[in-house]
């Protein structure tokens, strides 16, 4: 570097501007400014341009990149993730897979319902008829009807055997005991059937609830995907507006 300055030497002016010249050269240029208003004005203009340049800042961006590598995969399987896996929108194939899984679950449920008829009794008949809403009442009613019919038959038998009882009073306690036992058996059977019905209904409700929950979850996840796109755009707009306001306020100062 020379210690003399040739008037109008632009490269030397730039070195001075960015303070990358040696002290001797710096002094020489500074001395020249004192006697050359043109060069001094030039330097002043370059400095003021630099101040203006400093006002240009890039918009805030969400970065946070990171290298993630699945341990079981070969090194070529590299990926950069900006969001956690659960915050990312589902890819199309995953959504299709989820839909297929829900459909399959529904299908198997339907098949299971068809095959889980316990016995050809009133309950099963009602299930087959498809009147799901009326089925529980109908089932209970039918069971009670059957019970009533049996009781009536028993009473009719008893009435028919009443003369025999008077003729043979010693046999009466035995017959009553038998009747009581049969009534108890009938009541037990009815209770068992009702319990079975209750268990079946509970299981069905649980399955319906579970499948509905999965459908809802899938819908929510899809909606999230859409919302994410929307909020991303909104956030960007807001950020631009903020940047704009910041610039305006900085300028006002």
């Amino acid at each position: 570097m020379s210690t003399t300055f040739r008037c109008g030497d632009h490269t030397a002016l730039v070195t001075y501007l960015y303070d990358e010249c040696e002290r001797a050269e710096r002094d020489a240029i500074g001395a020249h400014f004192a006697v050359c208003p043109a060069c001094a004005a030039e330097m002043s203009a370059l400095e003021s341009t630099r101040i203006q340049l400093a006002s240009w800042s890039p918009p805030d961006a969400e970065l946070g990149f990171a290298i993630t590598r699945a341990p079981a995969r070969p090194p070529s399987w590299l990926s950069m993730s900006r969001w956690a896996w659960f915050a990312q929108p589902l890819p199309a194939w995953a959504q299709v897979a989820a839909a297929a899984a829900i459909f399959a679950a529904g299908l198997s449920l339907g098949i299971a319902r068809g095959t889980m008829r316990p016995a050809p009794d009133a309950v099963a008949q009602d299930t087959r008829s498809g009147s799901q809403g009326a089925r529980p009442d109908g089932a209970t009613g039918a069971a009670l009807g059957a019970l009533e019919q049996r009781l009536r038959n028993e009473i009719a038998e008893l009435r028919a055997s009443a003369p025999m009882r008077s003729a043979a009073p010693a046999a009466a306690p035995a017959v009553e005991g038998q009747l009581l036992a049969r009534v108890r058996a009938l009541i037990d059977e009815s209770e068992r059937r009702q319990q079975l019905e209750l268990a079946l209904r509970t299981a069905q409700i649980l399955r319906d609830f579970d499948s509905q929950r999965r459908v809802d979850l899938d819908q929510i996840q899809r909606s999230f995907g859409q919302f994410e796109g929307l909020t991303g755009a909104e956030v960007r707009e807001q950020r631009q507006m903020l940047n704009y306001l910041m610039r305006v306020s900085q300028q006002a100062r």
């Binding site: 632009h10 490269t11 002016l13 730039v14 070195t15 501007l17 960015y18 303070d19 990358e20 002043s44 203009a45 370059l46 400095e47 003021s48 341009t49 630099r50 101040i51 203006q52 340049l53 400093a54 006002s55 240009w56 800042s57 890039p58 918009p59 961006a61 970065l63 946070g64 990149f65 990171a66 290298i67 993630t68 590598r69 590299l78 950069m80 900006r82 755009a233 960007r236 707009e237 631009q240 704009y244 610039r247 305006v248 300028q251």
Partner: protein, 207 residues
């Protein structure tokens, strides 16, 4: 304890991904800022930033420390920016259908971060962005590296692959054109000493 870039590079080369992620954390802002100022688009700048680190990670076994890690990153990022600019030049212009007002169409569209869209605004920052966008690529890059990343003439010359004197000429010509454009846009030159511009790499990290 704070690891130096060299320490973290050595650990990354030894297979420690977390060390490389620390380098990303350290340098992603400057690289994003560089890409944004060179190409002028937020989304694409973010993509270039991400791609820069991905390429750096893949090329890490070949990085022997012959240059500073940051210079190496800047080189990768600038190459990606250059490719991006070339692709943009090749991209065909979309013709506006007949009977449609292009301005209306532009107003309806989503806001973009292209420098051209900011021309109408009169804020200083936008005016600077506009003026910078009109500079030749080499001058713009030289000014960006000097003003916003605090590089020395020598570092810029190495990155741009040109002599020192060319860097100085690019800076001088670029600054002169910028000054004229800003004055033409009615922006009075600001007088006083430069305080905001970073002067070193370390300061550039805060940009």
């Amino acid at each position: 304890m704070t690891w130096t870039d060299e320490d973290l590079v050595a650990r990354s080369r030894g297979g420690d991904v977390e060390s490389f992620n620390q380098l990303i954390l350290r340098w992603e802002r400057p690289i994003y800022a560089l890409a944004y100022r060179v190409i002028g688009r937020e989304e694409d700048a973010r993509d270039i930033c991400q791609e820069t680190f991905l390429r750096a990670f893949r090329a890490l076994p070949g990085f022997k420390g012959q240059a500073k890690f940051s210079s190496w990153l800047y080189r990768i990022a600038l190459n990606l920016c250059r490719d991006w600019v070339r692709r943009q030049r090749r991209a065909p212009l979309v013709e506006v259908p007949q009977g449609v007002d292009a301005l209306d169409l532009a107003a309806q569209g989503k806001p973009t971060e292209s420098i051209e869209d900011l021309v109408s605004r009169r804020e200083l920052s936008e005016a600077v962005a506009e003026a910078m966008a009109l500079l030749p690529q080499e001058q713009r890059t030289a000014i960006i590296l000097k003003e916003y990343h605090g590089m020395t003439f020598q570092e810029i010359a190495e990155l741009q692959g040109c002599p020192l004197s060319t860097v100085k000429t690019r800076l001088y010509q670029g600054l002169t054109v910028l000054r004229r454009r800003l004055e033409k846009n009615g922006l009075a030159p600001a007088f006083g000493h430069v305080k905001n511009a970073p002067f070193s790499h370390e300061e550039a990290k805060r940009v």
